[in-house]
Amino acid sequence: MYKAYSNLTRTSSSKSFIPGNLITLESFEKIEETYLQALSIAIEKALEEYEAEVQAMASQEENWGDLGSSLSVIFDKTDFSISVGISGDENTVNQAMELEYGTGLIPPNPMLRNAALGVTTEFPVILSRYV
């Protein structure tokens, strides 16, 4: 499969000709596509688990309580990015932001930012169980 790239023209031009068997190249693209699909499915399953973990953790926090279930972890397939957000009406969002950043009267309790940090520290461990 890798033969298609063994004599790849070394140039930065996007129009450079890639010598090799076209069928081999198409096969390689198919494998890549299948791999990305499998990876996407694995990420989605792992994110479901991670989101449930984040929501459970937030629900145990004194101030977050019921708001914890409004936390959502979103996967964007187009650029493979993961973001953490809050879903709900304006009141829910405002309340969550006050808890997240604090108000002076109440100290910050950063569930959103800690969940975002967890995407790089804890999430890979969960993902490794699905790939």
Binding site: Y101, G102, G104, P108, P110, R113, T121
Partner: protein
């Protein structure tokens, strides 16, 4: 530098970083923003602008974790040249401090450090939009620039990553002014790298001699063996 230890050394470094940030206006040439850990208590008179620092999280940074091994320090000798040589003890001792801790021992040994991420929320409070803009400008340009953030921790003489992850607008209405005045507030989320010692350091004694006997069990050519032997170091 006194050995403050984990978190205290990092907190002190962060406070130093945000001290001496000033704003100016037509009434006062220089107003230096005071820096507090957490929001000042009611009895503290608030002079605007001011800055608060809050540690909001600590996480194990698995991506920086190395395989477990014993680290060594020596002022001179074979350990100095080895890959396991480390000349600082996180948040506590720099190279000079390690030499002092060494005393009369030839080596110090300690377990691998555990890499962690410290999350800080730094918040600026200002009464005027002008001060708020000046603070934001200085923060983003010089104090916590995107991409090039670093901070020195003199306790162990290390330079750490100090990355600005996000900043946001989060204005408040001032309760002391019956919620009629606005407090301009910017919230900065910053990550700092740190290490936790997994064990205390301990002194190792040096091997002074090796005494042994090698037996020629298979009656091979005896010229390759040295029996018995004693080697002094």
């Amino acid at each position: 530098m006194s050995n403050q230890g984990f978190l205290l050394a990092e907190d002190a470094a962060v406070k130093r970083r945000f001290s001496n940030i000033s704003v100016t206006d037509d009434r006062e040439q220089t107003r230096v923003a005071k820096v507090f850990f957490r929001y000042p208590e009611g009895e503290t008179e608030r002079e605007y602008p001011f800055i608060t620092i809050e540690n909001i999280g600590i996480a194990h940074d698995r991506s920086r974790q190395h395989s477990e091994q014993t680290y060594y320090f020596s002022a001179a000798g074979s350990a100095s040249a080895g890959p396991a040589y480390v000349n600082y003890f996180p948040s506590e001792l720099d190279a000079a401090g390690m030499v002092s801790a060494l005393g009369n021992s030839p080596f110090l040994a300690f377990d691998s450090f555990v890499p962690v991420i410290l999350m800080y929320q730094v918040t600026t409070y200002a009464r005027s939009a002008l001060h708020d803009r000046q603070l934001t400008s200085k923060m983003l340009k010089r104090v916590t620039p995107f991409r090039r953030g670093f901070i020195e921790v003199p306790e162990d003489n290390t330079i750490r990553r100090f990355d600005l992850m996000s900043w946001g607008n989060s204005d408040l209405l001032d309760g002391e002014a019956a919620y009629r005045k606005r407090i301009f507030r910017k919230v900065y989320s910053i990550q700092m790298t740190a290490e936790l010692p997994a064990s205390d350091y301990y002194a190792l004694k040096q091997v002074t001699s090796v005494v042994g006997t090698i037996t020629n069990a298979d009656n091979e050519n005896p010229t390759v063996f040295t029996t018995p032997f004693s080697e002094d170091f």
